[in-house]
Amino acid sequence: MSISQAISPVSDPPVAVWLQTDANNAKVQVGGNVNVYSLGGIWTQIRDSQDSWLKQGDSKSKSLIFDASKVTFLDGAGIAFLIGIEEAQATAGAKFDLVGLDARYEPLLKEFNPISNLFPIPAVKPQRSFVVSTGMATQNLIDDAVGLISFTGHLFSDLVWSIRNPKQVRWGDFVNAAVEAGLAALPIVGLVSFLIGVILSFQAAIGMEQFGAVSFVGPLAALGIVREMGPLITAILLAGRSSAAFAAEIGTMTVNSEVDALVSGGLSPIRFLVVPRVLAGILVAPILTLYSDIVSIFSSMLTMLIYGIPFVNFYNGMLAAVGIEDILSGLLKATLFGVVVSAMGCLRGMQTGTGAAAVGISATRAVVSSIVMIVLVDGIFAFISYKTGF
């Protein structure tokens, strides 16, 4: 047979037939082009017949002949088929004979000796008790907390270092990160802020109208926006866009051993990768918040026009309710959010495991941790504000 014949699959099924001569003797007659496609279905049929035959009576006195004399071509799947049948015979303690196999398949068949290696005993997964699982979960939590604390320490020391050595900060990376996290976020922050402004005013106006207090909606909405909504909208959008981006970028660098290369070159990855991004977060978060405040208040003004409140009235009411300290308080909070969001993104990126899936996990963890931290910081800030009046 020429090789070209072997190469073109011949579709003349069945490639294998089960022949039982008597209770103790059977034969598998294999022929034609035995390959991974032609074996589909037949393999299961033959093995099922073999298993039910072996189960009847004493299997040790049974003998099976695998007749491969009519095979025109046998690929790796054909050899696996043969091995599967041989192993089933061996397991049952029955006899197995291979006849008529072309000599050219012998070397390949020999590669798999002993075939029992191909049939490992499935390992039983050790069951973890509740106590062990709880202990391990606690340990993970502690490890994570320790990682966060030590990262915060490193980050602070490197931020102080960068203030003392401003020339050595990677300003190129800082600019790139600031443009990507700040400038590129303007459209989405604008859109979301506009809509939130409209929704907030509408919702408030519906309730307030019943008390004839629609004129108070403007000041109320404006105060809420500058103190709470502006910083929160910005921070959450930053978490979704930039924190995930930082985690994915640094995560990919970790997977590709680029972070290892920095460490072995004597450079601090925090100073090199994290500081520029955190500085960018510190810069863009308050700016984006201010922009978000302006857009939201403007959209609120437009909404109140529907309720017959002119711009001037809204403006005067707002001036009476919102002081400069309210705006500053919002911006200070936004700055903290900027630090938290960019630092969490970088931390999760640096904690990336190996493989492509790990980068995805890091990006997800970055967004989740950032949002948790935003809420935490917001809560602490609200408490301090309440106590100090700022």
């Binding site: 020429s2 090789i3 070209s4 072997a6 190469i7 390959n35 991974v36 496609y37 074996l39 589909g40 279905g41 393999w43 299961t44 690929d75 790796g76 799947a77 050899i79 696996a80 088929f81 091995i83 599967g84 050219r104 398949y105 070397p107 390949l108 590669e111 798999f112 290696n117 191909l118 049939f119 490992p120 495991g353 190996t354 493989g355 492509a356 899936a357 790990a358």
Partner: protein, 267 residues
């Protein structure tokens, strides 16, 4: 040996001994042409090695051969079927007839080795899970990775990842295997074992191998035929049996490559 850019006589697509036929192929990216007007053919069951210095476009040529990239000009015929002109389902059908091992292994990171090998079987065959697992274990055994079937790609070394990638490429017992630097980064024993497996598969199952390689020892051991590419000539500068080329080639570039002569010594 062919002079650069001299087209061979075109082999017809109906030639039954021809596994791959390359006709007037131009490889490159946009205006950056790496190889021009290549003509060669790979016979059935042959171990065909593509040689050349780093950056001359060997891997790019390989990706053009198996249809991952569209060539700038020319045609590649795989068993008489023009993969360059084929589109959609027709192209996928041609692609199913060969296996590819990428330079970096390109294993799926979220699956263990056994699942990496069975993935394509799950899609294209009607075997049961037990049968697929047995078949996949055979493939892993051939590359010496049987004990590592449940390992994730990230838990094994680079050389092992390469071998696992070869096992995956062989999953459906394709007629043609494209291997991009299979033995680079392997220890000499594993590399020799791999060479012997490649020879067995070629000799006994008639599998055609198209291999990009730098490993001279491995090339001498297994290659039936080599082509040597050159960056400046943008084409094939030598073709034939590697040992013959090593001993008889008058071309200084070929002589330098096969005899590992340092560039400054040549000048």
């Amino acid at each position: 040996m062919n002079a650069p850019n001299t087209p061979n006589t075109l082999s017809t697509s109906s030639n039954p001994t021809c596994a791959i036929d390359v006709q007037n192929l131009t490889v490159g990216y946009g205006s950056n042409i790496l190889m021009q007007n290549l003509n060669f053919s790979v016979n059935n069951g042959e171990i065909f090695v593509i040689l050349g210095g780093s950056g001359c476009g060997k891997s790019s040529l390989l990706k053009n051969l198996f249809g991952l990239y569209q060539p700038l000009a020319g045609d590649v015929l795989i068993e008489g079927q023009n993969i360059t002109a084929a589109r959609g389902a027709e192209r996928q059908k041609i692609m199913r007839s060969f296996g590819v091992m990428y330079q970096e292994g390109a294993l799926f990171g979220s699956m263990n080795l056994l699942d990496n090998v069975t993935l394509f079987m799950q899609e294209y065959t009607q075997l049961t899970e037990t049968q697929m697992n047995l078949l996949a274990r055979c493939k892993l055994d051939l590359v010496g990775l049987l004990p590592f079937e449940s390992y994730m790609p990230s838990e094994i070394s680079g050389g092992m990842q390469k071998r696992a990638a070869i096992a995956r490429a062989m999953a459906l017992d394709p007629k043609i295997l494209f291997l991009d630097e299979p033995s680079a980064g392997l220890d000499p024993i594993t590399s020799a074992d791999l060479d012997s497996t490649i020879q067995d598969l070629s000799k006994n199952l008639g599998i055609t191998f198209v291999i990009v390689s730098h490993e001279l020892a491995s090339i001498y051991a297994i290659a039936d035929k080599v082509i040597m590419l050159d960056k400046d000539a943008k084409g094939i500068i030598a073709e034939g049996d590697p040992k013959v080329l090593r001993d008889t080639s008058k071309d200084p570039r070929v002589h330098q490559f096969f005899n590992r002569i340092i560039s400054k010594d040549l000048a």
